[in-house]
């Protein structure tokens, strides 16, 4: 009997890649909407952040799922890349991939690697201090600390620059990835697929640009 849809088959791996990618897209939207409230109203942002930071379901169910999703996605990304490199063991002396495919689609591993680096920095900046405060030191923390911490992080122009560049690369990652994921999970209806891919392109540009806007906004309004 042949292998079935597990991580040991090419299509199984691809479905895992697409499902984890789409899950991360939903998370990204949620994260963006919450961050965006910081531009509109300090109090709302603090309230939502406090809720997210203290709610048991979010802290102990959603957060581990999210971390697992990120790990599954990038580990599978590196596995696929290794297998794909092996599948073309001799390179062409002359190759013209720009004639038939987009730069984004050919460089998912590089845009992904930059995002991974950024996630490391992001964890170090926001997540580690929070975890340390709440679960290591066991302190309450002021329910209004979130906004000031956010503002503080966007003081340093180097940080803001790294942040902006990472989001440009995330935009490039999603400009290919979001649409591709629908193809991977098997959408064959041409009207749906075209619509979803258009939506994916818009999402891929608007949401990362929104994150960049938020960073610049706080940098300029210190």
């Amino acid at each position: 009997m042949a292998n079935t849809g597990s991580s040991s088959t090419s299509i199984g791996r691809k479905l895992i890649m697409a499902a984890s990618g789409l899950f991360l897209v939903i998370f990204l939207l949620q994260h963006f909407l919450i961050n965006f409230t910081s531009v509109i109203d300090e109090k709302t942002f603090n309230e939502i952040s406090h809720f997210m930071g203290t709610n048991v379901l979010i802290q102990f169910v959603m957060q581990p799922i999210l971390i697992a999703g990120v790990i599954i996605h990038f580990v599978m990304g590196f596995i696929l890349e290794m297998k794909n490199t092996k599948a073309r063991n001799v390179k062409y002396a002359m190759n013209k991939p720009s004639a038939n495919s987009s730069w984004m689609s050919r460089n998912m591993i590089y845009t992904g690697a930059v995002i991974l680096g950024f996630l490391g920095l992001h964890f170090y900046d926001f997540w580690v201090p929070e975890i340390d405060l709440k679960y290591v030191q066991g302190l309450e923390g002021s329910p209004t600390r979130y906004f000031h911490e956010l503002q503080h992080r966007f003081e340093d122009p180097v940080r803001v620059a790294i942040y902006c560049v990472s989001f440009v690369l995330l935009a490039l990652h999603l400009m290919h990835g979001f649409g591709a994921a629908f193809q991977s999970v098997g959408v064959t209806n041409k009207r749906y697929l075209t619509g979803l891919q258009k939506f994916g392109k818009i999402f891929a540009i608007v949401v990362p640009l929104g994150f960049i806007f938020i960073a610049l906004f706080h940098h300029l309004n210190q």
Partner: protein
């Protein structure tokens, strides 16, 4: 015609057999007519080589009219060359200019090892077909009339489009991952869309994908390069359909 044709520099991959190292070698051809096909230009080169007592360049070809899928050259960085919707045998020399340098390489994929020069071993495709690219039909003499089974026109058209795949392997050669998904998905779709193919649909997709993986082809990143370079315009939608079929079959498989 004499003196009015193109003079070209060819950089061709030469490799005497599967186990020897190969290299790119430069050749010159002169007075090539724009009306020639690419393979005819290669014939001119080979006549030159033979008359000089040198080993001619080995390349696959058979029908020379775009239907057999044998010709297979990676020309100037693209499978079947710079034209669209054609095989190498249908590629005209008018796509090139006098003085051009043309790179000619074999399909490159771990699953398609070079046999000699530009000839690669594509029996991996045959093994994938053997794994499930067929329907079992009773041929005892009382075969049912094909028209007895009603098939919606849209399905028949899509199945036909998928069936036009000639198994040339340009999709594999083009894909940055040397993935065979376009080929396999065309073969899966062609049968999955028709009532005759439904009976064995489940094992077919599982077994064909299994064989594809065993042969060492890469994974699909949905770059779409295969669809652009495919001489038969096989659509990427077939890959989505195969993924769907695979998921369905996996979930409902007996084991």
């Amino acid at each position: 015609m004499a003196g009015k044709g193109m003079n070209l520099t060819l950089k061709i991959w030469r490799q005497s057999d599967a186990n020897s190292p190969g290299k790119m070698v430069d050749y010159k051809v002169t007075d090539i007519s724009e009306h020639m096909s690419f393979l005819e230009m290669m014939d001119v080169l080979n006549e030159q080589l033979v008359s000089k007592g040198e080993d001619p360049v080995a390349f696959d070809h058979d029908c020379r009219e775009g239907i057999c899928g044998m010709c297979s050259m990676y020309i100037n960085g693209e499978a079947h060359g710079p034209d669209r919707g054609v095989t190498t045998c249908q590629l005209h020399m008018r796509m090139f200019n006098d003085g051009d340098t043309i790179y000619i390489e074999p399909w490159r994929a771990a699953a398609f090892p070079v046999i000699k020069d530009l000839v690669v071993d594509r029996t991996a495709f045959d093994r994938i077909m053997n794994a499930g690219g067929f329907v079992s039909v009773n041929t005892s003499g009382n075969t049912q009339d094909a028209n007895a089974l009603p098939i919606p026109k849209a399905d028949a058209d899509e199945a036909f489009d998928a069936a036009t795949c000639i198994g040339c392997g340009a999709c594999v050669a083009t894909c940055k991952n040397a993935s065979a998904m376009l080929f396999v998905s065309a073969k899966v779709s062609q049968l999955a869309l028709l009532p005759q193919g439904k009976v064995e649909a489940k094992e077919r997709v599982l077994n064909m994908v299994d064989q594809m993986d065993k042969e060492g082809f890469g994974n699909c990143t949905v770059t779409g390069a295969c669809e652009v370079e495919c001489p038969k315009g096989i659509s990427l939608t077939n890959i989505a359909r195969m993924n769907q079929e695979f998921l369905k079959a996996s979930i409902t498989a007996d084991k």
